[in-house]
């Protein structure tokens, strides 16, 4: 009989029950969407922050990254020691390989153009790699220097035939030399010289504007540094630094075994640096503080902001749901009075109402969960052009929220209604 009554309410009072289910679905979808976005926003913003360029540079142990910030005269810019090109693949074999989203090798040399000394840099532009793990990766400066503008012509592309012997010229240098896209530039390096076609002119807003960029192999040929590179820039998704990572960055050997495990298995910029040094012979991997520190700050702020907005949205949907449930229980005071009048115990009535409401809530919650996941994807695709991953934490949180909120909304209302005198209620006063 109990279930017959529950069934009766669910199927014969479709309108009201549908409205409750609808509101719960709304609340649950809001909770799902916000929680999903909140859990994934770190990764997504981290990806966006990659536009600031590499956060790790790997250089040979003996040498230093000598590239002059503001071209002060007298600074030597050509390194004398090198890393091995054939070890580049190792970058994607470290523990946190999956967090490395982009990297590019660099080799630089001085070349002579009409008596003028110019820095020429060899690198990857859009280098396609098939990794042993089966992962496909396009890496290079096209994505790592997202702030560069190609003023005329186009980016070089390793996969295009004939691009192996073309170069790109910085805008200042192009002005000084008077060269344009399609022109040929004669230059002479340490090992070799030749005439190379300009594929494009770029504007970088920095020193690179007076340099030449060319494919790695070409520059190695010209400078006679086959198989050698002078630095690697790595873009990695990292966890903001904390006390442990700062301590580890100074000297990992001073950590306890447990601390070391934690540090090594967390994507701190210092642990990724450490792991890169392990796989590349005679190298020093350094965090580019300007990028790494700022990323941490912005990530923390964004996540905190999303957490607060999520909390507000959750409170809002919780109040919305419990409010409606309270209203709907109050509305049934007559029916409850009648049940009491014909001899139903309070527990029996409460059980009946709660069962009905929980069934409706779970139904609405399930629909809302689906809809909320959809909303999360809308946010993901329209803001970040990527899907929002479903965090395993979201499902139990939403289920918990729906149940707690429904109970919180219905129990006080049921108690109030039960306290009423059946006779009064029936006479509709």
């Amino acid at each position: 009989m109990f279930f017959r009554m529950v069934k009766g309410v669910l199927f014969r009072q479709k309108g009201k029950m549908a409205m409750i289910a609808f509101t719960i679905a709304l609340g649950a979808s809001l909770a799902t969407a916000m929680l999903s976005v909140m859990y994934d926003v770190g990764d997504k913003v981290n990806q966006e922050l990659k536009t600031y360029g590499a956060n790790i540079t790997v250089v040979p142990k003996e040498a230093s990254v000598v590239s002059d910030l503001y071209e002060v005269e007298g600074a030597s810019t050509i390194p004398t020691s090198y890393l091995k090109e054939d070890e580049l693949g190792n970058v994607k074999t470290i523990f946190w390989a999956f967090n490395i989203v982009d990297f590019a090798p660099f080799v630089s040399t001085e070349v002579n153009i009409d008596g003028r000394d110019v820095t020429m840099v060899g690198t990857w532009f859009n280098h396609h790699m098939s990794l042993p793990t089966g992962e496909e990766l396009d890496a290079g400066v096209v994505s790592m220097r997202s702030w560069w503008d190609v003023a005329s012509g186009r980016w070089l592309d390793e996969s295009k035939d004939g691009d192996a012997a073309k170069i790109m010229v910085g805008s200042q240098l192009a002005d000084q030399l008077g060269v344009h896209e399609g022109d040929k530039v004669s230059l002479k390096g340490d090992a070799k010289g030749g005439s190379y076609e300009v594929a494009g002119v770029f504007e970088a807003g920095g020193d690179e504007d007076s340099q030449i960029y060319a494919p790695l192999d070409l520059v190695q040929d010209i400078s006679g540094t086959d198989g050698l590179i002078s630095s690697i820039e790595v873009s990695a998704i990292t966890t903001p630094d904390n006390e442990l990572s700062r301590q580890a960055a100074k000297d990992p050997s001073k950590l306890t075994v447990a601390q070391y495990e934690t540090w090594y298995c967390t994507a701190y910029v210092s642990s990724i640096c450490y792991q890169l040094q392990e796989v590349i012979t005679d190298s020093v991997a350094k965090a580019v503080r300007q990028v790494a520190e700022s990323e941490g700050a912005i990530l923390d702020k964004t996540q905190l902001l999303m957490v607060l907005i999520t909390v507000l949205a959750l409170i809002g949907s919780a109040l919305g749901i419990s409010n409606l449930i309270t209203a709907s229980v109050m509305e049934r005071s007559q029916e409850i009075g009648l049940l009491k009048a014909i001899g139903a115990h309070d527990q029996a009535i409460s059980a009946l109402l709660l069962t009905e409401i929980i069934i409706v809530a779970l139904l609405g919650g399930a629909i809302g969960f689906g809809a909320g996941y959809g909303f999360a994807q809308i946010i993901g695709y329209s803001v970040f052009n990527a899907s929002i991953a479903l965090s395993p934490m979201v499902i139990p949180l939403v289920v918990l929220l729906v149940i707690v909120v429904t109970l919180a909304g219905s129990i006080p209302a049921i108690r109030t209604v039960l306290r009423l005198d059946p006779a009064e209620v029936l006479h509709g006063r």
């Binding site: 409205m19 916000m34 926003v41 970088a204 807003g205 520190e293 902001l305 809002g316």
Partner: protein, 389 residues
């Protein structure tokens, strides 16, 4: 008694004597309005607040001497800075000079060291920034090369350019070479080329080279968006001939990209949250009104026209909407303030215009939520409503 008086008497009686139901409805509207006002305030202030976070990436504008000038005088720099319309968070000028330590060439930079962290907050200093005379900050690379540590003393030799004669050896004892001892107070770790330099205060630098400083570069952190920055650059180019302002593209472009994504994120989140919450508010209002079908039937039986019933219920709803909207707009500002103190450690601009907007939205939502159920109830025969218990 006037009709209006009775009208208000009925509405206020309904609100005051049906406390629990009205509280339910009022709560719903207040929550909706709070979320509206809170999220909109946060969204509105986000570019400014987040922009401050992006300061951590360092300078977004630099001044270099224009092509026909050797260096920038500090008056020129001040004049140029004054041309910028937006907030200038920091402007640090650097003067670079070549010098030697034990005949090994080095570059020293003279600047207002205490201020450097304003434009380069990412600098990690092991030790402390120089604060007294003849103290020096050493880049990590150079510290390793010269085996320097905090507390060590280093002797720096400077040869003024006019003392250098054509083709003459500058290594070793040269006439005119100036020597000065510096105490190392800190080592600089940045992961990039700053680690190549030695940093001293501009007064020490001025003494070392024995002349007034002209600067080679000024790093500025301007809290403005890309368009405002471009406008300032143009203005300086026009008005201060000795200074050539340039944007640090990497910082400005990236900030625009990331900030626009973040704004879009908060905007979308705001829209979805608001849409859902407003529907929630509407369903609650609907439930509260639907409950009163019988009363509507009775009023009809007493001879009330559909119009006057609609007016009464709308009046009630709108009054609730007004109160809820008013309270909500202040609570929402409270939320925004909470966000900005907790997340951004700063206060937030109160938007007075948001109060009427919030109230209007609250009124519109409650009105919409009342219209449907009241209209449905007025369509029903009063007889059926009164009989159908």
């Amino acid at each position: 008694m006037k009709r209006q008086t009775m009208y208000f008497r009925m509405i206020t009686a309904s609100l005051a004597r049906r406390k629990s139901r009205m509280l339910v409805a009022l709560l719903a509207i207040t929550v909706g309005s709070t979320i509206l006002a809170g999220l909109v305030t946060v969204y509105y202030d986000l570019p400014r607040q987040m922009g401050e976070q992006f300061l951590a990436y360092g300078a977004n504008m630099i001044f270099v001497p224009s092509a026909d000038s050797e260096g920038m005088r500090s008056e020129e720099i001040d004049e140029a800075v004054a041309q910028i319309d937006a907030d200038v968070e920091g402007a640090i000028s650097y003067c670079y000079e070549s010098a030697t330590i034990n005949d090994a060439p080095i570059i020293i930079a003279g600047c207002n060291l205490e201020e450097t962290l304003k434009t380069s907050p990412y600098w990690q200093i092991n030790g402390a920034l120089p604060s007294g005379d003849n103290e020096i900050l050493v880049g990590l690379e150079q510290a390793e090369f010269f085996s320097l540590d905090v507390g060590d003393t280093v002797s720096i030799a400077y040869l003024p350019p006019d003392a250098v004669r054509e083709g003459e050896q500058i290594i070793g004892e040269v006439e005119g070479k100036v020597y000065q001892d510096f105490t190392v107070t800190g080592l600089l770790d940045t992961g990039s080329s700053e680690e190549e330099y030695f940093f001293i205060s501009d007064t020490d630098m001025s003494e070392l080279i024995d002349s007034d400083l002209t600067y080679d570069v000024t790093e500025l952190r301007v809290n403005a968006d890309a368009d405002e920055l471009a406008a300032s650059v143009e203005k300086i180019k026009q008005t201060v001939p000795g200074v050539s302002p340039q944007l640090v593209k990497r910082i400005t472009e990236s900030q625009t990209t990331v900030l626009s994504k973040l704004s879009a994120l908060v905007l979308l989140v705001t829209i979805i949250t608001l849409a859902l919450i407003m529907i929630c508010v509407a369903t609650t209002m609907t439930a509260v009104v639907t409950e009163r079908r019988r009363e509507i039937g009775l009023r009809k039986a007493l001879g009330a026209s559909d119009r006057s019933i609609m007016l009464e219920f709308m009046g009630e709803g709108l009054l609730l909407g007004f109160i809820g909207g008013l309270v909500g707009s202040f609570l929402g500002f409270g939320f925004a303030l909470l966000v900005s103190t907790n997340v951004f450690n700063s206060t937030i601009t109160f938007l007075p215009a948001l109060i009427p907007v919030t109230i209007v939205v609250a009124l519109a939502v409650t009105a919409l939520a009342c219209i449907l159920p009241v209209r449905n109830a007025t369509k029903v025969d009063p007889a059926l409503v009164l009989k159908g218990e």
